[in-house]
Amino acid sequence: MKKLLALLLASMMLLSMTAVFADVAQDVESAKELTHEELVQKAKAEEGTFIVYGNTSRITTALEDFSKLYDIPGEGNNLKDAEIYTKLEIEIDGSAKGADMVMIQDGASLIYMLNNDYLVNYLPAALAGSVAEDDQNPLVQQYINKLFIYSNIDDKVAPIKNVWALTEPAMKGNVIFKNPETEQVNMNFLVMLTSDDWSDKLADAYKSYFGKDIELGDFKNAGYKWIAEFLSNSVFGSSDTSIAEEISQTTASGKIGLFVLSKLRSSSVLADNLTVAQYDASENNYTVEPFSGFIYPMYALVSSGATRPYTAMLFIEYLMGAEGFAPWGKSIGAYSTNQDLVPLEGDLPISVWKDSLVVENPAYILENYEDVSTFVTKYLQ
């Protein structure tokens, strides 16, 4: 009898939990009508600790400030994308308490998580006019850029006007990149280059650099050819930070890297020894053909396993504002998608970056990932 009762209770608990999960999407839908004050009220009425998983260390700072502002207990976890997805899936499938809200980078996996209702998109109604349409669903909270940056010691590296310059024999061993196999956004960038759009641009750039039409040989398009030659010239560093530190050394003349711009602000990087290709191009009125690096999004979404969905929405609203973006916005290399926020002095606005950099298209990446990544690994040997 007792066993039966226990079983009954357990199954009731399970049922009630699944019921809660199903509600998150509805809550998000209905919240579109709420004013800021009403959202705050609903968020404060929720119980338990507000939990966030984020592939960015500053999430903890942002959450601490948020917790203070609204007096809501919060807990921020800095995890990698794959860890976040693994945890989310296991926790939501197992109806266990996990994240209420997540910040992630890998858009290709995100598509699945959205299609299968693990994550719910929420765009604060007031922001509809301030965020570019492309960035609204799924909501991109900010973009981060990786740029061609080179050592200016002895002026050994000529200003980069065309990415085919990096494939020249003279650059062999002088291009430093993080192994795309160990960082997803790097692989995603390479995948994007094989798209019709980018391979056409690369073919044009080839012509303007070498003065003749590209000969593809066995390569499917110009994107593949550039990837092959670029990777053959590259040496892999272990992290963007160490790449930035290394190229900034006085002994590193002649080296060029493709890494996160924000590392230039790190106290251990001798930024004076580095030149950002795009900055040089903007100052001297030339363009880097056809791109001067790439840019990748950081998405902000509500977990369908949220037990504090309103708090999650309030936090997203907060992150999209000046105060919430502050932990990232205080240094160069991070760009809020809220166009009302002005970029940092000395940096360029997101619209300029989007025109001069390769932007991710999650659907294309998901579709072509296996082909391109198989190709890429052959050039990592």
Partner: protein, 613 residues
């Protein structure tokens, strides 16, 4: 049927009762059940993962829904050998993703095991069996490399030996800039340094396990040989080596399995020369095509099992290794005579380079502001004792000694390490007792293998499986979950030293007490434990230290990245917050050394004490 044959039933019951009357049997039975649940279940899950479709890229590539069964992962990872085009088999997917990394992994694992056994075993012999000078120093310092998280040792290697002619070719390390020595590329990156760093990192295994046996072995055997004028080399090869063989095999197993799943060292020392091993491939596949990653995990386990079987064959039925009989306690130390000082000095220098120099480097790197500039004007203690450091934008606004975040994580790490040590250590001792008492029985063999099994599971995969398990058991979360995983994963350390200690112990000792009807727990606490205290305590200390510096096992299970010190440290290392990272690394080392010292003062045992000194 049972009722129809009361005699048979009674006989069976009698047999059960007599079976259960022996504590060793109860211990083995209980651990058999628990370990089956805690290790075989994860293994089954892991194998299941190799045949199902996972979400995202994988589902897209295969064209099946998540959860469907498939042999695609096997086909893709192991049998795609024809897509290399002009490059032939060497550019095929399977060769690149599996066979070549497998070959590299085996080379690295075998080499690092050999280095660990040769280096650790030799030093253990000198410390335990000779009158070498500076024993205390050698013994204490030898375990340092194991206390440091292995990747910090790799970072040290890189920053010490790098120069403008190798790798990224961007800067000179201390060797080049201070001594003007530009070492070749193979010395800085790839097979050699990876094997060497791992071998150095795990040499303390050999030192502790082999040293424990050497110290406790019966000197009668060697003395008898000496009386018969057997040459010393023959004594070593025919008596000493066979006796330490089980410990050497245990070491081989531990170092091999650890090296195989080491991830951070090959990333730091392999990337620049494009040297890949299975663990690095597994990690990147885990993020994209996890089915193939789990196959790699299974292959790693398979290799572990092969060595485990070898190990069993060598230590199993053939020989008895009873060396502590209670009849002799005198160990004759070999007199090194004139060779004493040169050998001692050589060891001290090697240890200073391998164990002390990294510490000094960490300390230096924790106070300099811009990398590579070691002048006083570029130094600050802000990262240790500073306040209001927001301007640095490095994740913390206080120096680590004033950071509430760091202290909280330290407390958590300590509590976790101590819990794991207590659970694993006690279990290991009991398991050792059970196995030794019921030696060669089926149950003992099963428990022996089961208790070792967790160590063969790659940490990352083990963590993921426990995370999945935790969602099905309501009380399994937070601290309990971490402590359970840590205890199970590090049980092999404790059970190894437990089994080693017990196998050495002659049955007569316990029988003597049994004759006068001393109860079991009293025999354990008053006789067995005190005799083999040193070896048992190493079974407590090793799990504790390993937990203090463990990363990949816990990374999926910690409630937040700031929960324990290592996840915090890895975050800092990855973000490139070198000063905070180095400071925390030193903090971990100092805390572990303090713990070791305290245990040493309180109980007379310590990690290195398994050996002597």
């Amino acid at each position: 049927m049972i009722k129809s044959n009361p005699l048979r039933w009674r006989r069976l019951m009698g047999r059960v009762r007599s079976f259960l009357s022996k504590p060793a049997n109860i211990i083995l039975l209980v651990f058999f059940i628990i370990l089956t649940l805690l290790t075989l279940y994860p293994l089954v899950i892991l194998l299941w993962e190799t045949v199902i479709v996972h979400a995202g890229r994988e589902a897209r590539a295969i064209g099946l829904k998540k959860g469907a069964t498939t042999l695609y992962h096997f086909k893709r990872l192991l049998f795609t050998l024809d897509d290399g085009g002009a490059g032939g088999i060497r550019l095929s997917n399977s060769w690149i993703q599996f066979y070549e990394p497998l070959f590299n992994t085996l080379s690295v694992s075998i080499t690092s095991s050999a280095i660990a056994i040769a280096f650790g075993g030799t030093v253990a012999w000198f410390v335990a069996r000779t009158n070498i000078k500076y024993k205390k120093f050698i013994s204490t310092v030898f375990v340092f490399p194991y206390i440091m998280p292995s990747w910090t040792l790799a970072l040290f290697w890189q920053s010490f030996f790098k120069n403008v002619n190798v790798g990224t070719g961007t800067s000179n390390g201390i060797m080049a800039s201070v001594f003007g020595i530009f070492v070749p590329q193979w010395f800085v990156y790839g097979y050699f340094p990876i094997s060497f760093v791992l071998g150095l990192h795990y040499a303390p295994f050999a030192y502790i396990l082999i040293g424990g046996i050497l110290r406790n072995m019966d000197a009668n055997l060697e003395e008898a040989a000496t009386i018969l004028k057997t040459p010393r080399s023959r004594i070593l090869s025919r008596i000493t080596l066979p006796i330490v063989m089980p410990a050497m095999m245990s070491t081989l197993l531990l170092v091999f399995a650890s090296s195989m799943s080491a991830y951070a060292v090959p990333i730091f020392l392999g990337s620049p020369v494009r040297y890949y091993v299975l663990s690095t491939k597994m990690k990147s596949l885990m993020d994209t095509y996890s089915g193939q990653a789990y196959i790699i995990a299974a292959v790693m386990i398979l290799f572990g099992v092969i060595i485990l079987a070898l190990n069993k064959k060598m230590t199993g039925s053939r020989k008895s290794f009873t060396t502590v009989t209670g009849k002799s306690s005198q160990i004759a130390l070999v007199n090194l005579k004139r060779a004493n000082r040169p050998i001692a000095l050589l060891l001290v220098v090697i240890l200073a380079l391998a164990a002390v120099l990294p510490l000094i480097t960490f300390a230096a790197e924790s106070v300099i502001i811009k990398a590579g500039d070691y002048s006083f004007s570029n130094m600050t203690l802000e990262f240790w004792i500073g306040k209001d450091l927001q301007y640095l934008d490095q994740g913390d606004s206080n120096g680590i000694l004033f950071s509430p975040k760091v202290w909280k994580a330290l407390g958590y790490s300590l509590a976790l390490a101590v819990t794991c040590a207590l659970v694993a250590g006690t279990s290991g001792m009991l398991v050792g007792y059970g196995i030794a008492k019921r030696k060669n029985s089926k149950l003992a063999n099963a428990v022996n293998s089961l208790s070792f099994f967790p160590y063969l599971m790659p940490s990352l995969a083990f963590g993921a499986i426990y995370l999945a398990m935790s969602t099905r058991v309501s009380w399994l979360n937070g601290f309990v979950l971490l402590a359970l995983v840590g205890s199970v994963k590090y049980l092999p350390f404790a059970s190894r030293s437990g089994v080693n200690a017990m196998l050495q112990l002659s049955g007569e000792i316990e029988e003597a007490a049994l004759v006068v009807a001393v109860p079991w727990w009293k025999r354990m606490t008053r006789i067995i434990f005190p005799i083999q205290k040193a070896t048992f305590l190493s079974g407590y200390l090793l799990p504790m230290i390993s937990c203090m510096r463990e990363l990949s096992l816990f990374v999926l299970l910690v409630p937040t990245s700031n929960t324990i010190l290592t996840t915090m440290l890895m975050q800092y290392s990855e973000k490139g917050w070198a000063q905070f990272g180095n400071a925390i690394n030193l903090l971990i080392i100092v805390v572990v050394l303090t713990l070791n010292f305290t245990v040493n003062k309180l109980t007379g045992a310590s990690i290195d004490k398994g050996v002597g000194g």
